[in-house]
Amino acid sequence: MRIYIISVYLFLYVPIGIIVLFSFNAGRHASELRGLSVQWYGKALSNPFVGDAFVTSLIVALSVAILSSLMGTAAALALQRLKGTPRVLFDGLIYIAIMIPGIVIGIATLVALVTVFKFLNPLLASIWPEGVNPPKLSMGYFSVIAAHTLFTMSLVIILVRARIAGMDRALIEASMDLYATPWGTFYQVTLPQIFPAILAGFLLSFTFSFDDFIISFFVAGPNTTLPIYIFSSIRRGITPEVNAIGTMVLVGSLFLLMTAQFLLRKRTRPKD
């Protein structure tokens, strides 16, 4: 049994370890290890394409995380008061948003937005004042952020709702009995209790968006996110530089995940 468990953990972590090890390769070829050096990190960090892709991914992931934690929390709070058909409808939509494969979301968003833009752009041009260039709607930051947010917002709703369900109702009633305003109750009682879930949702949304390849691949338009850059470099051939970028991505998401796990456990785990 023990041997089996150890080999499963090795199976999970050896490939990651190999990427990390080979990113310190001093040689020019990806698969021959010749001494250790950090030269590929230097190369990767000074490559302007990597820098641009990183900044794009960062902007997208931050916007996605902020939007989804705000909207998801608002929806989770409202949904607990909702009953009957609207409630069932919302629950259905949340599950569909989570269940539909990313690739279908990417395709459907691409097709729908291209169609809508084809219709809206001439319309905008016709109502725009003479002499001023009308705005031209196209795929870009907006479409990636919107498509990612669909999934991550639903994730936040589920996380925050679970937290609300586990909350002590007596505290809210006590606050009401003591004549706190609804806003006061929310700010001083509800919010502190659901905050770990919101923060965890924020970090998970960020990680999802930052790591997502398939949705961005369809809807990013001319923008290149980091996963898209990595994907196309791998298609061109494996270099130690890709290993270095991959290692940095792994370390970054690991750090965020540790934070998320820590925050979730802090509140959801009952005292032992």
Binding site: M71, I98, F217
Partner: protein
């Protein structure tokens, strides 16, 4: 009183408004558009040319191989994940020392939330021409090809989705009333009997949840076959990327997507019904 409930209703509506708009514009509208596209003619440039035709649905057999691969690899991959995951979840929930439990569990979950792209890429490295095949050559097996084979894709699947399978099974095993196991033991039940009659049935909700999650994700998989199947083993996801981004046939691609979603909905609802019939309808949380 009346006044307050009215303002409450406004507040609820306001809180739900952004989410509703999002669902409408980013989920319902796009799904309707691909449904419409899938019945349209193909225009000269590969886009939507209006009209109404069943041509694309009748043409689906042209991508039969992709459907066949997906419908084979998704269940087989799910089963393999389950076989690898169950003993691990069992160990984590029932056997391991409390002190190491949390850290071991976190170590399983972490890989799932890190880049699948980078993790799958690691296997190109390991299975590729200069990875394991070189080691095999040393011990006398020449010319073994591992990458771009069905086996490579299955390894990638188990590697990528193992954490997602372990977690729900762990949760249901962890909740299991340990006194039942002791009772069975006291009554002279063999470990095998205890497992078959108590542990396994009680962990079925977790097994069902894990299988469904992995199966759903595998149905839409693109990266693993793209990296490890090398054009020989391809899924519907790979066909879709080709249809939308390379050979450009949006109406046909839409028909393929709609079919994928329909197959998924049928399989999942069939599955849920089975799970409910077996009284395993308890909710297992995703996280």
């Amino acid at each position: 009183m009346r006044e307050e409930s009215k303002s409450n209703r406004w507040l609820t509506a306001a809180l739900l408004a952004p989410t509703s708009i999002w669902f409408l514009l980013m989920l319902i509208l796009p799904l309707i558009v691909i449904l419409v596209f899938s019945f349209g003619e193909r225009s000269a440039l590969g886009g939507y040319g209006g009209g109404f035709t069943f041509e694309h649905y009748l043409n689906l057999p042209a991508r039969f191989k992709a459907f066949q691969n997906t419908m084979t690899f998704a269940p087989v991959g799910t089963l393999l994940c389950l076989l690898v995951a169950y003993p691990l979840a069992y160990y984590l929930a029932l056997k391991v020392n409390r002190r190491y439990k949390l850290i071991l569990l976190v170590l399983v979950i972490i890989p799932f939330w890190t880049s699948l792209l980078v993790r799958t890429y690691a296997w190109i490295f390991i299975l590729g021409g200069r990875g394991i095949p070189v080691l095999l050559e040393w011990i006398g097996f020449e010319g073994v090809r591992l990458i771009n084979t069905p086996g490579a894709v299955l390894i990638g699947i188990v590697y990528g989705y193992l954490p997602l399978m372990v977690f729900p099974i762990y949760v249901s095993l962890d909740k299991l009333d340990k006194s039942l196991l002791e009772a069975s033991d006291d009554l002279g039940g063999s470990p095998y009997k205890t497992f078959m009659q108590i542990t396994l049935p009680l962990s079925m909700p977790g097994v069902a949840t894990g299988c469904m999650l992995v199966f759903i994700l595998l149905m839409g998989e693109f990266l693993i076959p793209a990296f490890l199947g090398g054009g020989k083993v391809f899924f519907i996801g790979n066909a879709l990327v080709d249809l939308f981004l390379q050979s450009r046939n949006w109406p046909f691609g839409s028909a393929v997507s709609v079919t994928l979603v329909v197959i998924m909905l049928i399989t999942v609802s069939f599955y849920m019904r089975m799970a409910l019939r077996n009284k395993t309808g308890r909710d297992e949380s995703l996280m």
